[in-house]
Symmetry: C2
């Protein structure tokens, strides 16, 4: 008895949890119940039943099958079902016409052949990727309806009447479904896709934030190691949680975009493919964070002393990146165009600061000069990655008179030996410190890579703003 009670309590809690996670689930369940009751009235109420007859049962069936969670999915299924039924009815009528003029046995053989041919051809058509993607359900319904009508035409005389009635009742069923999903607490796939994209940005920002914090946290190293191990066992690491949804978003994104493209509310925008594209770029951005996370799990050997020295500039860079990500998510959330000149978008300045900081640290500048070079080289790589775009030109807000910056561009453009050689030749390089600083260099290189990929993300967000005709950026919005 005690066991039963516990089991009951667990079940109750689970039922509660599913509803609490997303309240729309409860609403949707009630909607299905109401629609079914409504459609049952066709059968239960005398006057309605007299008008429609036995075939009212098809309306019940349609509601069960068509009414889906989101409006887009319901429209997709409803319209596919309607179209499939209509076409199948027409084809069946045609075949019936031909077959009717022959005798009984030939009639049966003809129907058998038609069923075989239509079945095989239709099934084959389902393998075409375009049809599979947009009309799969319609094709199944076509095949179903065609077979039902053709086969039963052999025993029943009034095929046309069957087809008619079936079509009417299905239309009634679809009508109730559309009414329910369009006007009573509608749940839009487009909205879901929009919000999931915003959530992706927030998750990535969170991941980077936690990553940096853990990297520079002062805690006992062994403790950290154990924490990491524990996390990887339970898959509950906040960093992992932040990016895992991004990595596996492909199929859900595509499904939502497909359904969203059927929703009338958003028909004009046609921006769903852009959301899918943005998702792809975000996934590639996510791969870099996976690498950064990997860096965190192996970086145990970077001594505290080295980490402390770079804590501030790294923190600043990461803060700027997360800030930019949050700005991007805000601009999408509020459906306004992202403006790359927003005052707080100082990522590249922060990157520059990190490089400056490395130079201005006398101890490390002396002992691990090569480390700075690593960063310079990485900056070169990052710039080249954008292939064709000028790193400096694209950043009008950066002060070009900054000597360090000029020095950098000098190195980048000519690989000038004069600047670097003298400084190096007078420094004795201590290999051990260099060895110790290396894991940090790997970490920093990933930060630079992240900045480079962030630019690609920004590009796609701007494109999204253009395609989806978001409203123009205005300064008042920033306050909100």
């Amino acid at each position: 008895v005690e066991k039963m009670k516990r089991f009951g309590r667990l079940t109750c809690r689970k039922i509660w949890k599913v509803g609490k996670e997303d309240k729309r689930r409860v609403i949707h369940s009630l909607k299905v119940g109401i629609s079914l009751s409504l459609v049952s009235l066709l059968y239960l109420m005398e006057p309605l039943f007299k008008g429609i007859g036995e075939n009212a049962i098809w309306a019940v069936m349609t509601v069960v099958v068509v009414l889906e969670f989101t409006t887009g999915a319901t429209l997709y299924k409803g319209l596919n079902r309607g179209l499939g039924t209509l076409l199948a009815g027409l084809l069946a009528f045609l075949i019936e016409r031909i077959a009717n003029e022959s005798d009984h046995i030939f009639h049966a053989a003809f129907i058998g052949t038609a069923v075989f041919l239509v079945g095989a051809v239709t099934t084959y058509m389902r393998f075409f990727s375009h049809i599979k993607k947009n009309y799969d359900y319609g094709v199944v319904i076509f095949l179903l309806t065609f077979n039902l009508i053709t086969v039963s035409s052999y025993r029943v005389d009034s095929v046309l009447k069957i087809a008619h009635e079936r079509f009417y009742t299905i239309a009634i069923g679809c009508g109730i479904c559309l009414l329910m999903s369009l006007f009573i607490f509608p749940i839009w796939s487009g909205e879901d896709l929009h919000l999931s994209t915003v959530a992706k940005f927030d998750g990535l920002a969170k991941s980077i934030e936690v990553c940096i914090n853990e990297y520079f946290s002062d805690g006992n190293i062994n403790q950290q190691e154990e924490k990491v191990k524990k996390y990887s066992m339970e898959m509950e690491d906040p960093i992992y949680k932040g990016y895992k949804d991004v990595l596996d978003s492909k199929s859900s994104d595509e499904t939502l975009a497909l359904y969203a493209s059927w929703e009338p509310r958003y028909l004009r925008s046609c921006s769903w493919q852009q959301y899918v594209k943005l998702g792809t770029v975000l996934r590639h951005f996510g791969y870099t964070i996976v690498a950064l996370h990997g860096c965190l799990q192996t970086e145990i050997k970077t001594p505290q002393s080295v980490r402390v020295l770079f804590k501030d500039p790294c923190n600043r860079l990461a803060r700027e990146v997360t800030k930019t990500l949050k700005e991007l998510s805000d601009s999408i959330r509020n459906r306004r165009k992202y403006c790359s000149e927003i005052p707080s978008n100082h990522v590249h300045e922060a990157l520059q600061d990190l490089i400056d900081a490395l130079k201005s640290q006398p101890r490390l500048f002396l002992s691990t000069n090569s480390n700075t070079n690593i960063l310079l080289a990485l900056a070169t790589l990052a710039t080249r990655q954008k292939s064709g775009k000028d790193f400096l030109v694209s950043l009008p807000s950066v002060n070009n008179d900054d000597p360090a910056r000029l020095g950098l561009s000098h190195v980048l453009k000519e690989g000038d030996k004069k600047i670097l050689r003298p400084t190096l030749s007078k420094n004795g390089i201590t290999s051990l410190e260099f060895l110790e600083a290396l894991p940090f260099a790997a970490f920093a290189s990933l930060l630079v890579e992240i900045v480079a990929r962030l630019d690609l993300v920004i590009e796609q967000v701007v494109e999204l703003g253009r395609v989806a005709q978001f409203k123009e950026y205005s300064h008042d919005d920033v306050v909100i």
Copy 2:
């Protein structure tokens, strides 16, 4: 007319292509056609029709909906449909019993309420992830059947007879589907999952191979750059093609594993979750190759001279990695346990060779000694990543007397300053060459990372061999 002709030719070619890509599609289409013709006989042939009656139409419907491409999917749908119908029939019968004892209006109200309640509760149940995953289709069919029987019970007296007939005809339909999918050219989801896993290994091996070849190819650098650009536009890059299926494999893997778990042929093994796990590890392996690919797109600045020097050891390491991947794919393909002592599995020796080669290159040893250190440090990282496992102990075939190896382990274990310091202090380090060698260091570091992740993949393959009870490794098999 010319345009029509061209369109016709294009369509024909597309139809041909879809069939050629996978011949089983044609077979499946024919199977559907035959099944439908067979099931139509129930209706068309006089004696059969007399036995079953009008309800034969449900058998046609079942065949259309249940007969899927793979046996697993058909079984999943067929069994779900059978179970759903049975349970719905029982519940409907119970409710009918209660309702029948009341008057007409109360009867209608009772049915309406029951339809509402069952509809809402069932729909809510579909949001539970476990039910969603394994029984979604069954729940829909349950709701459908329940409504059909309950609602029509209001007008028809013999509900039990309806339920009976419906169940029989659905059983006939399911039976034909199962017969067709189990015994006539069966297409197994498990086989698909197995082969797609093998293909993933081959794709990854191909990616690494092409990556290394392009990196060390002597061609004009500008030409390469343009090729890369062209590739990224058309998404037809062989490297990209190799790993893209791996990255997005999550949902298809899980679907195939779900269907495969219904297939009787493989029921005993229960290894499908291990395939999914292996897929996850392979995806993480793939992320590293994405990074390696990124390295290729930005490495334009590594001078030919540096690359040529490291060509052989890098090639060897990559060759060993691809060889191991191919061995893994072979062992899975032939369903035999992977034996990590296969003579050709010399990845870690190749890694050691790369480090030795760096040391033995006098010019580079002198000028870019730090580069060697990068690799040493990376090797340290790689070893630590395996947290707890001893790098050297796990490689019984490596000759421990090899002095270079001992030197490495020395550095790894004690971070010995004595070995490294003297060499460095007597070398004048030319910063520019170091800067030039850096992109190569990034490339090499990823190769080391790949070796580290390869170990995780091997671990999962060995686990798969254990869980799926593959046959033992024997030396004779290698020849095959």
